[in-house]
Amino acid sequence: MGYIELMDISKSYNKQSDVLNGIDLQIEKGEFFVLVGPSGSGKSTLLRMIAGLEDISGGTLKINGNIVNHLPPKDRNLSMVFQNYALYPHLTVEQNILFGLNAKKIDKATQKKRLLETAEMMGLSDLLKRKPRELSGGQRQRVALARAVVSDAPLCLMDEPLSNLDAKLRANMRIEIRRLQKKLGLTMIYVTHDQVEAMTMGDRIMVLNDGIIQQVGEPIALYNKPSNLFVATFIGSPKMNLGKAKLKESNLVIEDVFTIPFNHEQILAKFQNRQLVVGIRAEHIPHGAEKDGVQTVEIVNVEQLGNETLISFEVGSKLWTAKWLGQWLVGVGDRVPVQISVENMCFFDEDTGNLIQAATSSLKREVVAI
């Protein structure tokens, strides 16, 4: 039994179309759980339902074994950090941090002690007398975090807390939040639309689209074995290259452009008579050596990132990207060999979009890692 359990949770406004549907989920104590999805996917709504800020239209929500559907937010023993931080503009940092403790009528001595500890931990000790408008974005963010920390609630909810920060600060805060969560042993539910944030922070990730769970799992599992095309393209940057494919005799033909030999042991019965979509990650398209499956392509765009080089080329109607380590002096229009191997491909059913088989190379790598 998880610390937080969602059973067939759904949400609809005015009894009309569902914003969320059939959400079943368990979150363990001390877990950093990320809800990720494009805007409008219902991830914030789900978080707000857990917080008690939105009514639950259907299903059961349990926290720590108790049904809490009907409880107001304050009785759910949780803290929340908002995207705009929700700092009270007329109160000082100190008063902001203590706001919740004051509302809960905790005695002054305890308040003082917890304030000093938290301020120390968050590096806010020198800012306690300032008003929010006198703080930088990063400092405000810290105050918002401090407010969550000081409450001592075992569950912390965060709704896109980093999206108002610039890129550099965001990278720092990612690490900081993650460390804080581990240190305090918090159970964290973290909403973001940024898959990088999801990948780097989450113990587990839930991908949500159109109010329906797409996949739940560890970051690497989502990356290697995306359960459908949505997850495949949503997780990972640059996104997974996709192409329609079919089996012709013992060859795999992708977008009518690439013909890749397909040896017997790899031909599976489940591939027969099906419209396939193959997906291959950019880092799995290396510069072609003389081996099977080398294709020559014409470069349409080059991005030099310094430590790696992104090369784009057309495959039928699709634009694919390959990621090569190091600096490659190639230009637009050059024809280069690339290697496309079947073992690096994920296979999806074109009709349902669901995964048929993940890349076999990733399975091997996992074995190596263990």
């Binding site: 917080a51 008690g52 800020l53 107001p72 937010p73 304050k74 009785d75 949780l78 803290s79 929340m80 908002f82 995207q83 705009n84 931080y85 929700a86 009270y88 503009p89 007329h90 706001f99 919740g100 509302a103 809960k104 407010r147 409450s151």
Partner: protein, 271 residues
């Protein structure tokens, strides 16, 4: 962007002429309030300026009493309006309940009922309550204000909903949130509405005329009318000094709060 000098001169010219015309009636009254009656009657330039008219006005009329009454009435109405309209605006912005939109429509509807159209029964109500010549009779009917509610509602809507949610998670109730967060955060708009409320209540005329029959709670506006009717033909200097005294508090308020009022009125009016 800089303006050519000729255009500048034109603008200053137009501004000065307009200012002179607009301000002339008040300016004349101000000068007259220091003039001797003989000079006023003959229309000559003032030979001497003195405070005699003011002294006379205070001596012959219970002006101080009237001023005090006006202050009490205007402040009571201002506070009443601030409390009632901020409570109502809070409900319209932060509380979601059945029938809220209908009630909001009802508030809009009140703007279409001129007070003058319901003044007869109102007079009878006040009389039956025994509130004639009483402060409540002068103030209570004006506590509820749709305009004030809209102005504050507009302002409260700019308070992020997350503040309310954060306080809900912290376990703070609605009334406390209203008191501890909404009112302090919306301080400036409360001041604006307060200034506007004070200004309009201080300047009220018809209702105090009806609901006061003696000096106990009579406001300074009605006092001025009495001063004018009794002194009409003879002493314009005294009348003018009375009028100047009447407008001093509101003028000060206006000069201090002009920017605020402008912003508040535009916001409350347009959106």
């Amino acid at each position: 962007m800089t303006m050519p000098i000729s255009k500048k001169i034109l603008f200053y010219f137009l501004l000065s002429i307009s200012a002179l015309v607009v301000f002339a009636p008040a300016l004349l009254a101000f000068v007259m309030s220091f003039m001797d009656n003989k000079d006023i009657m003959t229309g000559s330039l003032p030979q001497s300026l003195s405070f005699d008219n003011y002294i006379k006005a205070f001596e012959q009329f219970p002006l101080l009493k009237y001023l005090l009454n006006s202050f009490i009435v205007a402040i009571a109405i201002t506070i009443g309006q601030l409390i009632l309209s901020s409570l109502a605006a809070y409900a319209f912005v932060f509380l979601e309940f059945k029938g809220r939109d209908l009630l909001f429509f009802l508030f809009i509807a009140t703007m279409m009922v001129p007070f003058e159209a319901s003044i007869i029964p109102n007079f009878h109500i006040i009389r039956d309550l025994g509130w004639i010549d009483q402060y409540p009779g002068l103030t209570v009917p004006f506590f509820a204000t749709a305009f004030g509610t809209f102005l504050l509602r507009q302002n409260f809507k700019q308070i992020p909903k997350e503040l309310r949610e954060a306080s809900q998670i912290a376990g703070m109730g609605d009334f406390k949130f209203y008191l501890k967060v909404v009112l302090p955060v919306a301080k400036t708009s409360l001041v604006t509405l307060g200034a506007y409320g004070f200004l309009t209540s201080w300047n009220m005329y018809l209702w105090p005329l009806l609901s006061t029959t003696n000096d106990t709670v009579r406001t300074v506006q009605i006092g001025l009318k009495q001063l004018q009717t009794q002194e009409q033909l003879n002493d314009w200097g005294v009348i003018m000094s009375g009028a100047i005294i009447v407008i001093i508090p509101t003028m000060i308020l206006l000069f201090l709060g002009q920017k605020q009022l402008q912003k508040g009125l535009t916001e409350g009016a347009i959106k």
